[in-house]
Symmetry: D2
Subunit: 424 residues, 4 copies
């Protein structure tokens, strides 16, 4: 299904008076509102192709209805999101779940929905039917050279799909590690992984990047071979200038200071990509901003400060992507909430008075530092974000319009109640 421009316009005109009042107040309170809006308009968050269906846990999955049955329908879903919020103009493909069949028609569809192809993702954490070797004991780290080779070739295959589509980055998330003490020689696992990544690195086109994602634990429950930012940075440095670290918010030990990790990776010129989600316990993959919105702001505060210090373009300097699992919400509504939370945190970070903060820091005036950051965070920027969305052609209230238009009901009637999207 498709949302028509007139539907958005009708919706917006109904909400216009309220929005105008709030926006006028916010704009009068906030210095530089126009520049903030300009940056918000440019900022796009990629949607992963596997996040359009209902997620699950090892205990079960409770499917919703109308889930996309193929890549084309996934793109249709992202097209709906982007139509509503104008900030979801990119898709991140997962191979082999979403191998594009007819490249030309997929690219035409992307153009129709105004979507770019973000980083492509390989999968060596599951076995596919008819796969020669199993990844039960790891892929790029495996003690068996033939298995490493199979995994390397899969990654090279993924790069090729990405080239066809116009993507320019590969994300490698490895489940590799061990579940019990003694299972691995951890040094050899590192070295095998490095050699494997080097072969993949060789296959990257010149302008491509490779993102080496890290994760503290799960699905392996003793060690993970790319387990933290320090290990990822070691790999990225040994690989070369096209290799970067990717930070996923849920991939840390309890209480980790992710803001600091972000700041240091930017300092080292090695932050490449970012996966948004939220969590209370582990890699819970919840809606971004749903549990710790202040932490999200603090992270964006470091991102903005650190990118500005290097002269990086906010919109294109890093790969921005959501990586969440929608277990109890409609996936599209969930994604709308996540993108909204990201835009708000980004807007807040843009609003921080950097000069005042730097002065307070220079005086170790901790009270004032807190006043500045919390004062910014407490400022209600929802109308600023909405204005950016409106100017870009989106809906004043995406979730409300999504519900008013009965999008999910229409997807169900078109696709069926019992579809299950590929993914986790």
């Amino acid at each position: 299904m498709q949302i028509e421009n007139y539907q958005i316009e009708e919706h917006n005109s109904q909400l216009q008076a309220d929005h105008r009042r709030r926006f006028d107040f916010a704009a009068s309170e906030v210095p530089g509102a126009e520049q903030i809006i300009e940056k918000l308009v440019k900022f796009q968050v990629a949607i992963p192709s596997w996040a359009l269906g209902t997620g699950g846990t090892r205990f079960g999955r409770f499917s919703g209805g109308g889930e996309p049955r193929n890549l084309e329908e996934k793109m249709e879903d992202i097209g709906l999101l982007h139509k509503l919020n104008r900030s979801s103009g990119a898709i991140s493909l997962h191979i082999p779940w979403d191998i594009p069949g007819n490249i030309a028609s997929i690219k035409a569809l992307a153009a129709q929905y105004e979507l770019k192809f973000d980083a492509v993702n390989s999968n060596t954490f599951q076995d596919q039917p008819n796969q020669a070797h199993s990844y039960k004991f790891g892929s790029l780290q495996n003690v068996d050279k033939a298995i490493r080779k199979q995994a390397i070739e899969h990654n090279i295959e993924v790069i090729k799909h990405g080239i066809d589509l116009g993507s320019d980055a590969l994300t490698v998330w490895l489940a590799d590690g061990s579940t019990f003490p003694g299972q691995l020689n951890m040094r050899k696992a590192f070295q095998n992984t490095l050699e494997s990544l080097q072969e993949i690195y060789e296959a990257l086109p010149d302008h491509w990047k490779v993102f080496v994602e890290y994760k503290a634990y799960e699905p392996n429950f003793y060690s993970t071979t790319v387990g933290d930012w320090g290990q990822s940075l070691l790999f990225a440095n040994k690989l070369g200038p096209k290799a970067y670290t990717l930070v996923d918010l849920g991939h840390h030990l309890p209480n980790a200071n992710i803001e600091q990790i972000v700041a240091l990776l930017l300092m080292e010129g090695k932050l490449g990509g970012f996966h948004f989600n939220d969590s209370k316990y582990g890699d819970d993959d919840l809606t971004t901003g749903s549990i710790k919105p202040y932490q999200l702001f603090l992270i964006f505060n470091e991102l903005v400060e650190g990118m500005d210090a290097r002269g990086m373009d906010h919109a294109t300097g890093l790969g921005w992507m959501i990586d969440a699992s929608h277990n109890v919400k409609d996936p599209l509504e969930d994604l709308l909430q996540s993108v909204e939370a990201i835009m708000l945190a980004y807007a807040q970070a843009l609003l921080v008075d950097r000069k005042a903060l730097a002065e307070a820091q220079a005086e170790s005036d901790v009270v004032r530092c807190q006043e500045i950051l919390q004062g910014t965070f407490r400022t209600d920027l929802r109308a600023i974000v909405a204005e950016a969305r409106l100017r870009a052609g989106g809906a004043a209230n995406p979730i409300k319009l999504y519900r008013d238009l009965k999008v999910r009901e229409k997807l169900i009637s078109g696709r069926g109640l019992k579809t299950v999207a590929t993914g986790l």
Copy 2:
């Protein structure tokens, strides 16, 4: 020193135009602003007598200047806070750090500063000079009956001081526990503690409460004898109707859902008191709201919902107190920030549309539940809180006025640079 009314008035009139504009907007956005303001005016947070000096860690303490040297100066400090924010009208005494000398003059001083005496706190986690027995291996739990007796008598002594001052609650925080496996028979430790508490309970006046505080760990690093809400509730139930649990935000294992604990304790009619602070790692005792402001709101959301369900008065139904340590901030500024964060979270909780939330819950509409709570949290209520403070006679911006009036400088000139307040 004292802040004069005219100083507050001058300050307020300077900030009036800005405040008025923001308040008018907020009031127009927020249903029931007047009722919220009314409740905010009544809400008072007790300041502990030990939190007026610079705190420290086991690695050191970096004292500030002008710290209060005795109980009278501590009351003076709280008087200053209360003059500024009109929400700090209570003091929580710690015995033996603050044994009142002349009761009549202390009460007169309290009346002058408009302060009530909140719960009194005993201390059996340190040895005092000339104490007969050591609490090295616990107090109310101790294997040695003479030591238990000494600790019981101390608590009864504390109650007497409280009676003298017009307090009506005793807070018992026990460091009792063990540092190594095997050190304690944990069942006997529980039973000794119970018997000791029963003797203290017997000494409580009829209208008094005793709050049994729990803490997961520290200063004992293997087990704590009142270690979690379940244990505290066991004690409170075995003791009787005057015994309650006290929740300190920093006293939990990582990732604990404190909101749920609060909801269940209210359900059981056994939540008695609350200690505010914030933390990232353990019992960090940071400024309330400085790390997880959304969690603070969620906790207040449960407090308001749960107290309303029992028909409890928000202001008097529970003992509200800050319990923080000010290691790198001026303690008075830190307390002003904490109280402000508490008032904001309380205001937000009052604003939650409970009917809409109940409906969304009844439909398991998780997206809508989140929209309601986050929409409330995102609403900027700072002007509402400021209005409540103004109506009660306080300052529009307490920290600004505190700095403009050079309060700390004056305290230093009056008390000296190298004073050290009793406390942690």
Copy 3:
């Protein structure tokens, strides 16, 4: 397949000399070796019917071969384990994964393998095909009465199956909870759950117990309605004398002192059952004893001390069960390792010099307390455990014999390489 007595005898006679030398030394070092052996022989650990296949995570499952395809084959597997170690003489059934068809033949099979039917387990954390209502938003807690009713009836059905088989306990593990703040009224969720449990409780035969299992998080990632031992105890106390708490080692927040929980629940007379596994991060469901063997010993130390204080029979006083997931090991080998670790920890706990420990505790001689516990733990009791196993007719080295007899290969040849057992 079946392991024949002569095969065990041959194996044992090969290992006899070595065993004898080690056992003689151990017996000479250890006071009361005979009594310990006697208790070890009686101690049986139930095997859950769902743990005989390869486990998985939400990211994937890497099946082994020869997994049991039905209840009969699961019993065959447990029969093999019990034949080897003589300590796995019970099965814990999961409904609906293992609904017994012909009761008489199932009971005959159990008798043949010398297996008892331990607690039966209900499942309301997944939807079954053709189920009227979904448990997506909870079962016994659900806001919808019809869904609660369905879940209640399922539990009553499970009790009936248990009665048929001669079981005498029901384990209720609820995934019920919420994934996002605001999703639930946590008090109402508690009360709905309590009412539902009361109906189930009514259906229990007089001599039955119901175990209310708790879990901190997962699959819900914000709150769990029976989230910790305190909540479970509240339910058990409100339900009545047949209701107990069940402790699963992996169901706690980080760093929880499980030993203390066990001690207190025994003190309250409300510990009912125990699920063994191990973990480093969360509910990792690893082989018992593989990560924290000293903690396992400390827990057994409390179990033995606490049960003895109440005069409880070690073998029958609590329901003992393994609850693990075998992601990278042969499930049967994994279970043999788990049972061995349990027997060792139990043997060590039996060996603790309780009189000496009580004396050291009475003197707060912490160094000596540690010497006693660690001295016991460091003592190599493997030969004592092996002797108990030999006297009961088992194998000197179960894993070695399992491999020598090529049990897995034979199961694969009998059942096929690509079977997948029901379960997680």
Copy 4:
């Protein structure tokens, strides 16, 4: 006081028969017992000068009696330990707590007690009386250049003391960091710290090392500027070949896999030193091996494997030191327990059948890998460790002899009951 050789001999002869029986059995069970003993004899663990008094927490300190009042008495205490266990033949000095007065006499004393001077430790986490600038807001990271300079000069001063004594390493533990979000520009804090360390590095003699210790949190509760191994490694790499990382077991986030960190740092040639202790919650600084003895073994397993792979000498390749706090035990007994636990873990690691493990790893035979490691850990090597101690001239049971000789009582009678050693 001093322990005489004849006292050790008497003690040993009393215990000889028992020891001999156990040792003979252990030696017959364990391949290569002689080589293990040889390595154990050479292995020495340094004792920090600040760990000889009773430790404390921010809540209090419960002093024991007879604590050393100066450096000479601290050396006397370590001399006693070394006399008893022959494995504590080194002292690690902390400046300014233990500035050596007369170098020649201190060196003579060391020679008399057979002690070497291990790494010297600087202290910029506390203010000393009459210090020009405060470290309240950090030292090497400070925004104020004058403060950084003071801290740099202090470190250079510490190096000079070390040179005088014959030490060859400097350990830099920084408390630097921030307690609240926004307090620091984390990138600038890193860079200031790096520049400061570079100046210190320049002052190192050619054959010296500098150990850059990391810690996740405390005493700062938001960020730490050298917060994890990744940050420490960044510093060490930027500094040069004399800079190394130092791992303290208690300085990690919950659930960190320290074994893996050790393996990777050895792989990178950047592991320099090691601080032993144990913990359940945070940096609890408990007796080594008292909480997680299996983890200690796993760490030693990686140490031995990784050092052997680089051809490093076990005894001298890394700086081995205890860093614990003795809150409820006699510090000397506590240290005896820690050293014993370290020697046992080292002995176990030496016993691991590396060839069999490598084979099992090469086959991804996870069950066998676990059997090998756990089989080694379960083997009782206490008699092997005791034999090594005896051959080196130590006591069969150091704690027993310490108590039999009433060492503490004599120290109290010599030094007084109310002495307090400098330190934490």
